[in-house]
């Protein structure tokens, strides 16, 4: 099986006054399709920088990220937008829902970016929200929902385009323990259903139990990379 994400000698430096801080120090690894990969590290370890690189949100200093055979740092802004529409989904720590839109509209947004007409997009969004158990919150605005509910809308939005890869940046960082479990179960079940790859960035040790692989980062380097056998769970 071919890896879905290949990271080759990835290096990222941030200039700070006269010197530069090395956030990622020549990292290389592969991620296979269907993996639920947890990137684990403390604050300042470089895990967020790695997520940005994997998702193509910023350009590397050197090295490259290849997703599905495409070196994403070479894509133009327009191609990158199309690439994100087709292959990537995002779940954010602070949910990042559009304040002026209802749960339905928020969920439908990635479809509308693709140019699908609103009626059809809303129809799919309704199905999706039903799956995450929010059929009674369809026309609610983000402010009228709890953190857990907002994050479920976030999950629905991330999975509605059936992306190959979903990036989750501290998705449970703002949630209590019970909701954390619900949200993680939901992500995992979606991923298994469509054989999607999940990249989960977190600093919470207990989330790693959901992962099939845990990559630990410190000071911009990989210090451990454990694969768990699925049957061991």
């Amino acid at each position: 099986m071919k890896p879905i994400i290949r990271v080759q000698n990835l290096r990222k430096e941030y200039p700070v006054k006269y010197e530069s801080v090395i956030a990622l120090d020549n990292i290389s690894f592969d991620i296979m399709p269907g993996e639920l990969c947890c990137i684990f590290g403390t604050s300042g370890s470089g895990k967020s920088t790695l997520l940005n690189q994997l998702a193509g949100l910023e350009k590397p200093t050197s090295g490259q990220v290849i997703i599905g055979g495409i070196p994403i740092s070479l894509l133009s802004e327009k191609d990158l937008a199309i690439f994100r529409q087709r292959y990537l989904g995002f779940i954010f720590q602070s949910y990042n829902l559009m304040e002026t839109m209802t749960a339905l509209e928020n969920t439908a947004l990635p479809l509308m970016f693709k140019g699908i007409n609103k009626k059809q997009a809303i129809k799919q969004a309704r199905e999706m929200l039903k799956t995450v158990g929010l059929e009674h919150r369809l026309s609610h605005y983000p402010k009228e929902m709890s953190g857990g509910q907002q994050q479920r809308v976030g999950i629905a939005r991330a999975f509605i385009t059936k992306p190959k890869i979903v990036f989750a940046d501290e998705p449970t960082g703002n949630l209590d323990t019970k909701t954390t479990l619900e949200v993680m179960d939901m992500i995992k079940s979606f991923a298994e259903q469509y054989n999607q790859t999940i990249i989960l960035v977190t600093h919470e040790k207990n989330l790693s139990k959901y992962a099939t692989r845990v990559i630990t980062i410190a000071d911009g380097k990989i210090i451990s990379d454990e694969r768990k056998d699925k049957s061991n769970e």
Binding site: A55, L57, E58, R86, F90, L109, F113
Partner: protein, 449 residues
């Protein structure tokens, strides 16, 4: 993303900060109003100027007179002017400078002496704007005449006593010089269905010449066209020439001359007057037209208009800065949102369009409201400044819509272009903020608050 969906998002965003949007739009309204009202003053000035000039005479007519003794206004001059381009019609005006009397009725009962008579070409009657009140233009038969509005009332009844032998139309004139023509008593004879006789010459000193003629039409009075339209008569130029020739031959007078004292030239458009007039001057004639009055007047009005519009534009420029400021503020508040949209795969052009539309919408709302408010302001100005007393709806309508002494006039094109211009101002002021917006990194989505 579809334009319709983008539009909905834009409107939602504008409603998010209602007071900010309203204040910005208010700026556009003020700007739009000041431009429209300022230009409306200019338009009103132009309209009153034009109506004033129109009262003075036809703006597209050039009168040509003799300037030197050696060049005469002959038929060949008429032809060469007629051949110039931009000239619509040329007609000599032949005056019959011979003592005359006109009689009609049984035994020449009705008589009118010393009449003003001139000759024109048939097509000149239409082209030079002579208005025919009743009857029609020359039919093309020999000896036909068009008569002034009150010619028929100059006939004296020779069988009535002095003091009661004329219907005096001056008695039917009000203090403004307006004659109640419709309610005047019937003239002694029906002008259009009677045969008249024209007698030339003073019977005591000269041999006289008498010809019969018919009246084909009655002209409306127009002082700028000459006294013929009031109490005189106009014959065909050729008839007058023939009459003169015959009369002079009869009296063995060598004065017979084929030249004219005046030629009138009608050009196609007001803008062509100066050019044609110059060419005729080069031929050695003296010319006169309203162009010499119109041009400096128009120039002055144009200058004033520009000045007014310039003043108005300043406030619209301030409004543009307002829109720009609002958009930049709104964008820096929505950095995270823009980042999320980018991360979710929104095209840059969609983001740009979204912000341009928001700015354009503010311009549109401001433009529409501004135009409507300008219409109201203009109406109030006209009502306050009018000399008419507004007693009923009809007069109010005149004061607002048709009077030429209005101070402020907003034509449809002005209202529409004000809206279009406001939208443009909105979109242009949105350009810089929108380009700023698309440079915001998708990373903003990841950053924690």
């Amino acid at each position: 993303m579809r334009l319709k969906d983008l539009t909905v998002i834009c409107i939602h965003n504008l409603f998010r900060h209602k007071s900010r949007t309203i204040l910005t739009v208010l700026g556009v309204i003020v700007g739009c109003c000041s431009v429209v009202i300022m230009i409306s003053f200019g338009t009103a000035m132009k309209i009153s100027q034009e109506s004033m000039l129109a009262e003075m005479g036809d703006l597209t007519v050039i009168d040509v007179y003799l300037n030197r003794d050696d060049i005469k206004l002959t038929d060949s001059v008429v032809e060469s002017i007629d051949a110039m381009d931009k000239v619509k019609c040329v007609s000599p005006k032949v005056n019959l400078e011979i003592q005359n009397s006109i009689t009609t009725g049984q035994g020449d009962r009705y008589i009118s002496n010393y009449n003003n008579i001139s000759g024109l070409k048939k097509e000149a009657v239409d082209n030079f704007g002579y208005k025919i009140l009743s009857g029609e233009n020359f039919k093309g038969e020999p000896m036909e005449a068009l008569v002034g509005k009150y010619f028929i009332y100059t006939l004296i009844d020779t069988q009535r006593p002095e003091g009661n032998n004329i219907i005096n139309y001056w008695e039917y004139m009000d203090e403004n010089g307006f004659v109640d023509y419709e309610n005047m008593p019937k003239p002694y004879v029906d002008p259009l269905n009677s045969v008249f006789k024209l007698t030339l010459g003073n019977s005591e000193t000269e041999k006289t010449l008498t010809k019969e003629f018919k009246i084909t039409g009655i002209l409306d009075e127009d002082y700028s066209k000459g006294y013929e339209t009031i109490e005189g008569l106009i014959f065909k130029a050729d008839d007058i020439k023939k009459l003169k020739k015959e009369f002079y031959r009869l009296n063995n007078n060598p004065q017979a001359d084929n030249s004219y004292s005046q030629i009138s030239v009608k050009v196609n458009k007001i803008e062509d007057v100066a050019e044609v007039e110059n060419r005729i001057k080069e031929m050695g004639f003296y010319t006169s037209s309203l162009e010499s009055i119109r041009e400096p007047m128009e120039k002055e009005v144009r200058q004033k208009q520009l000045m007014f519009a310039g003043l108005g534009t300043v406030s619209l420029f301030v409004a543009a800065l307002g829109i720009m400021n609002t958009m930049i503020m709104s964008i820096s508040e929505r950095k995270k949102e823009i980042g999320v949209m980018k991360a979710l795969g929104c095209f840059l052009k969609n983001i740009r369009t979204m912000f341009l539309m928001e700015a354009g919408f503010m311009g549109l709302i401001g433009g529409i409201a501004g135009s409507l408010i300008s219409l109201a302001i203009s109406g109030v100005i006209n009502i306050v400044s009018t000399e008419n007393e507004i007693t009923d709806f009809q007069i109010l309508k005149q004061v607002l819509l048709t009077n030429t002494d209005r101070v402020s006039v907003i034509p449809v094109w002005l209202a529409i272009s004000a809206v279009v211009f406001s939208v443009l101002v909105g979109v242009v002021s949105g350009l810089y903020p929108a380009n700023k917006a698309i440079k915001i990194s998708a990373l903003e989505a990841i950053k924690s608050d």
